[in-house]
Symmetry: C2
Subunit: 328 residues, 2 copies
Amino acid sequence: MDIKTAIALRKEEIESELRKSFEIVGQQRLRKAMEHLPSAGGKRLRPALAMISADAVKKGEGKRALPFGIALEIIHNFTLVHDDIMDRDELRRGVKTVHVVFDEAMAINAGDAMFALAFNILSRIDVSDDVLRDILEDVSSMVLGIAEGQQMDMDFEERMDISPEEYLEMIEKKTALMFINAAKNGARIAGAPPEIYEKMAEYGKYMGLAFQIWDDYLDLRADEETLGKPVGSDIRNGKKTLMVLYAINRLEGEDKERFLSILGNESASEEEVKEAIALMEKVGAIEDAENLALEYAEKAKNALNVLEDGEEKEALLDLVDYVIRRNK
Amino acid sequence: MDIKTAIALRKEEIESELRKSFEIVGQQRLRKAMEHLPSAGGKRLRPALAMISADAVKKGEGKRALPFGIALEIIHNFTLVHDDIMDRDELRRGVKTVHVVFDEAMAINAGDAMFALAFNILSRIDVSDDVLRDILEDVSSMVLGIAEGQQMDMDFEERMDISPEEYLEMIEKKTALMFINAAKNGARIAGAPPEIYEKMAEYGKYMGLAFQIWDDYLDLRADEETLGKPVGSDIRNGKKTLMVLYAINRLEGEDKERFLSILGNESASEEEVKEAIALMEKVGAIEDAENLALEYAEKAKNALNVLEDGEEKEALLDLVDYVIRRNK
């Protein structure tokens, strides 16, 4: 089964459970602010991944992993609500962001409440109490890690000497940790033993890393229509992606000067962006990042060898292909 | 034993455990932002209350309640970091607030990380796994309740038709929930049965309500020197305290008009503030709020009847007297 079908099959259950989860919030204005972003849509990749991982371990256990998946989805949305304030972003998923529709104070507070709601949902998940303790430790460490990744990302804006290793640590925290948790604890809720759920964590890690690197890669390689934004906008924004870091580390002399003069120049012309991309190609920066994403994709797939064959395993394998073939 | 001694006896352990709790944060700039407010001091009333409650149930169990108390203290500090952004406050505990020293994005993120850290500490507390599940539900509901109280408080700023019941619900959520949790789960960690820990929750509730009403009362009754701010600054700020709500509900005609013209007028003279206070006195608004605080204090004390006599019970009784005699 392909990943799109596997997600579609679970979509209705996810949407219904997600909607219901806000009923516990009695203060109506707070509830509206909390529901704003989740109700604007989203792929629901994290709850779907938790459910598919559970079903892959033991068919029929997906439903038991649903509340855990909903907790992750709410945490994902809470981080977006706060990120949008930090980045002063006014649109997400085609609608105005929470701090624009309500105000900044309400958006900060609604994000906090979403975070609390997620842990409240966790307190009622259908696992033995000792497993709950482990999951609580995992999920709280995850949110702490995401905050560390966010701080690293903010620090990077002011630095030019970032190593590729630091970049990979940052995206592992900011992006991959959620997928690690979804896959690992989805499997764990279905009763997987450590040798299986640790491999699922590995799957989530490499899939998440490949996902983020590919996302940055697409910014340079896809066409404007598929991207929904101009090609190379990361270059104009001065975003320090893996490709950019490779280029900064490898370029020398005039080439390096020229590249740095275009990087972060918001009014750079299309020609200049193309020039920057050509300089990156000259030192193999794009190719190497692409290859690393493919290598991680391979590692993600290999981690699934512990699973028995079945349509959920197929879907998980297909998800890896999906993240590195999107819109190419 | 009086409450000050009981807290002082535990202070060093609390400070040491609190400091250590940040060691888990590997990202140094994030860690600095997280530590900023907690390291600026504080009475540590919440962790002390958790420990004293535990010791009151079973002497020597206080130490086992310490990590739980630290989690509460970190949650308390996280709410203050975010509140200060929402209220644009620049000073707290005599030092610049987190968003002023770092920046707003870092302060939002540091608050989120503190919240995550608190739940991470909870995942390791020394109680049986089933009790941990209950405490996780309590603490997550508490943070959700605090956010509801915060939203109510923000809504109140735009409303004049607030009932005393709504006000009491707001302060129960915003202030008392923390004390409820400290007393209840401190006792629970020491092995108290439901008939005892539910009474401890009642103690926390009424003590917290009395605390907040008295705080508002002092603003009108204490002298400027003890308050550290001008008498009646709540009136100038238009703060809708219980006393103010009683006055709005009871005053009529010209008196009401006059009162409302002074309420929220930041440039009101000392004379005008005195006039507003006199109008409140005229309809018994201050006296009734004072009496309600005293009634709650009595209820808090009565809830402690389930405890056996001992110096921790004495300290808990003294804490109630302390909150309604502070600086009078």
